[in-house]
Amino acid sequence: MFLEQDRAKGNQIAGPMSLDQDPFRWVFLSDVCKHCEEAGCLEACPTGSIVRTEVGSVLVQNDVCNGCGYCVVSCPFGVIDRRPAPLPDSGGAFKCTFCYDRQKSGLVPACAKVCPTESIVFGRLDDLRARGAERVQQLQQSGYNDAQLYDPTETSVRGIHAFFLILGEPEAYGLPPKPQIPTIYLKSAWTSAFATAIASIIATLLAFAFFS
């Protein structure tokens, strides 16, 4: 799935200019779950509530989640949160489900179905990536030099299942330029923890051995 802006409605795309020249460029903010290839929330979840489904999406099993909140700070895209109080089943983690229920019935996700400009497209990842690349080329040829696909395959996230065709830098769309899965920080943090553990034991033994 990806989002692009090919059918100009109301002339959102003002012209082939870079972002700093054109203050009226149409940008968007999408809180859709990116369904990362390596998902930070899935790794962080201590209950096993967050799983990878057979369609490749990342899903929160609502009945298992106990609302510890660790996935919230483990998502590099900030798309998962605790369900706030007035909503039913509040307290548990919630995010875009990739319309798992619809996909199981052979239907496309609701956002792709409803989008009037067909900017949101659903399909096989390979097809979409090819289509996206083709469209980027097309745009660049017609003067949109800063057109690019936002699909961070080079970072520890290793690619996303909901990617975007954007003009200009990802920052303007609230997208992190180099999203990382936080498990890459575990090694140095645990090393430090073990070193502290050993130092504390040694300090305690020394304290009693020499000062009592």
């Binding site: 200019m17 020249q21 989640c65 510890c68 949160d81 920052e171 920080y185 575990l186 943090a189 009592s212």
Partner: protein
């Protein structure tokens, strides 16, 4: 605003362009309060989500640290035959690690009644999962260890049974010390391995800080309970010295915009106040022999800095510029 300012130049440029070409290209100038906001990212919207954790979590970090390191002190005391101190330390470990910590953790959950789901899986790549298992293992060692030690001390059972209790007390208490060191330090890993810039940039410092603050706090509580012995005083010196070094480390190891939540805002003040109280101030007070004051200073500092780190997470996670800047490291 002077006649040389960039906006003045840009306006003159536009005027010239309009005069010559009859049409202008590009944008004009930004004025204060103007209609086009120039905020970082998407109109200043957070890129990652700040932590949802409330006061229970920093308080748990505080009590978990005390509990874990009390078990270490208890083990040291047992080895060197300070049985009274070992008993007191195990009471401290069992109450704060076996009762207070689980209560605080469960209170913080969005759905407290599902807390047992924490033990549904074992995931070594999730610090939260490891923490749940560490806390459980700690409780399962500290509480039986305390009971066995008390029964043995009061000679409730005769002969062989008492010898067995002595063995059980030793085994469980040493076990609780091992899990205790992890209980006091894993919390640093927990917040260090996240997407919050000010946290993950200091993932090496955090376990040292939390673990050492735990050791110093455990010693401080025991001193305030009346155990004014040289061994605990040494641990107080050690912890305050390490915390002072960490204060220097934090003020040297700056990452500019990426971790400005630590150096600016109210969150920065909480960190600084906490670190001064459990670092240099505790060290100086102890140096002049003012042990109870040093102990109180250290405890308040350890507590304040735990709240400070959670506050830092909230500020840093809401700041899109920090997220962008941190990704350049």
């Amino acid at each position: 605003m002077t006649t040389n300012s960039p906006s003045e130049k840009r306006l003159e440029e536009l005027r010239e362009q309009a005069w010559k070409e009859g049409v202008v290209a590009g944008r004009g100038v930004d004025v204060a309060g103007g209609p086009i906001p120039s905020k970082p990212g998407y109109y200043g919207q957070p890129v990652v989500k700040p932590p949802v954790w409330t006061w229970e979590v920093p308080l748990y970090f505080f009590f978990g640290g005390i509990a874990g390191m009390s078990a270490v002190i208890a083990s040291g005391a047992l080895i060197f035959h300070h049985v009274d101190l070992a008993r007191e330390a195990m009471w401290l470990a069992a109450i704060s690690g076996g009762i207070l910590s689980p209560i605080l953790l469960i209170m913080d959950l969005g759905r407290p009644h599902l807390f047992l789901n924490m033990l549904r899986v074992f995931k070594h790549r999730s610090a939260m999962s490891m923490g749940a298992w560490i806390l459980s293992a700690f409780g399962a060692c500290a509480v039986p260890g305390l009971i066995a030690l008390e029964l043995h001390t009061h000679q409730i059972f005769p002969g062989t049974l008492d010898q067995l209790l002595r063995l059980a007390a030793g085994t469980f208490i040493f076990g609780s010390a091992i899990f205790g060191t992890l209980l006091a330090t894993y919390t640093g890993v927990l917040i260090g391995a996240t997407t919050i810039p000010a946290w993950f940039l200091h993932r090496t410092l955090l376990p040292i800080h939390f673990g050492t603050a735990g050791l110093g706090s455990a010693a401080a509580v025991l001193e305030l309970l009346g155990y004014r012995i040289a061994a605990l005083n040494f641990l107080g010196f050690y912890a305050a010295a390490v915390e002072s070094a960490l204060l220097i480390w934090l003020s040297v190891d700056k990452h500019g915009v990426a971790d400005r939540a630590i150096h600016e805002h109210g969150s920065g003040w909480l960190i600084r106040i906490g670190e001064v109280l459990n670092g240099p101030l505790a060290l100086i007070l102890r140096f002049f022999g003012l042990v109870p004051l040093a102990a109180i200073s250290f405890l308040i500092g350890a507590l304040v800095s735990r709240f400070g780190w959670i506050a830092v997470g909230k500020v840093s996670g809401s700041d899109p510029e920090s997220v962008f800047a941190a990704e350049r490291y």
